[in-house]
Subunit: 214 residues, 2 copies
């Protein structure tokens, strides 16, 4: 059966985003530094329709992950900012643009039913209102032989982890201290993981892959 | 000039200790897992006067660090539990036993002056009441050509980092999730670090060394 995986980037003091996130600046003060390694990588830029970028260990890491993933799941805040009327407004097409970087079927966890959105480039957003297990079942079906990635945010990853449904987690440690911000995971049960792979990049980031012990 | 370094172990979700620490269990619930890699290492056991242990990458990491360090600094809670009368009670000799594992001169940050304590095995505790810069000056003098280690706790490391006095920090990522607990650092200013070395151990721990950019 396909694996359920997540990949998150954090600062060395354990934050996925900096303090004071806003709609315009969802990564918070300094939070973009946690993702700089990705922004500079060829593979990330390519999937976001951007030119250039470095073909380094970060880029290879992204490509290796992407090749495994056949479908994704995300929380509603990762689909679109805020909450409220947008959730069932058919004009709201999320904040990923018309050609989102996923290029596969993405299941959005929400409480507001709405029709699926077929975007350019192979991404379809479907809106799931009956819980994380239903979303996973549908994502597994869409992924075929490939894996399902919980794209985020931290809350969605925490829910799958807490439910014992996450098989692997990759944590990228960015070489920054943010001082405060949003913690990596919240309300997860204590647990042990098995380290399976370490990738060091010249960017200063380090990617550490773990299997969740069940 | 000698460097000022710190080495801290954290869980993957960013905690140096688990929830609900007590005097009897200062590492909190599950917190001992963050340090398991050390407890099992030959070099750690040797400096604590214990038999056995594994001569693995963790042990080599400890030995390499120990060889660099000529003096140390710690917060008062790391010297002895709680606060109050003990601080100037000459009968209180800390909770490290008569042969503490430091084997060098350790300067304790406190507000209560008292005479230095000469312990077995090369450790002397001196009590510094006039601030972190004074403690560092005295530790540098004691260290000679070697480096000064801020042993902890997190609060002492945070103070030296915030004051721009820390040159290097080594973070050991233990393969556990604690769910909640004491964060790695508190009230540190945002900053960038340069990754200088990565050591993977079969224990599942990974040691990542950084230079603090100033």
């Amino acid at each position: 059966m396909s694996k359920v995986i997540a990949a998150l980037s954090i600062s060395l003091d354990g934050f996925v985003a900096g303090p004071d996130p806003t709609l315009e600046d969802p990564l918070g003060t300094g939070g973009e530094q946690v993702h700089e390694w990705a922004f500079a990588a060829f593979a990330w830029r390519e999937e976001h329709g951007l030119e250039g970028g470095q073909a380094n260990a970060d880029s290879e890491h992204i490509e290796r992950l992407r090749a495994r993933v056949g479908a994704g799941i995300m929380g509603r805040k990762m689909f679109s900012s805020g909450s409220g009327p947008w959730e069932d407004d058919p004009k709201n097409r999320g904040w990923w643009g018309e050609d989102p970087p996923f290029h596969h079927h993405v299941f959005v966890l929400t409480q507001h039913p709405r029709e699926s959105l077929v975007m350019d480039g192979g991404t379809t957003f479907s809106f799931i209102t009956d819980g994380i297990e239903s979303a996973l079942e549908q994502a597994r079906a869409a992924a075929g032989d490939k894996d399902v990635q919980i794209h985020g945010g931290g809350s969605a990853v925490s829910q799958y982890l807490a439910a014992g449904l996450l098989d692997e987690i990759t944590i990228t440690f960015a070489p920054v201290l943010l001082g405060s911000g949003t913690p990596l995971l919240q309300d997860v049960p204590p647990g042990r993981l098995e380290r399976t792979r370490v990738t060091e990049s010249p960017s200063g980031a380090i990617h550490v892959e773990y299997t969740v012990r069940k």
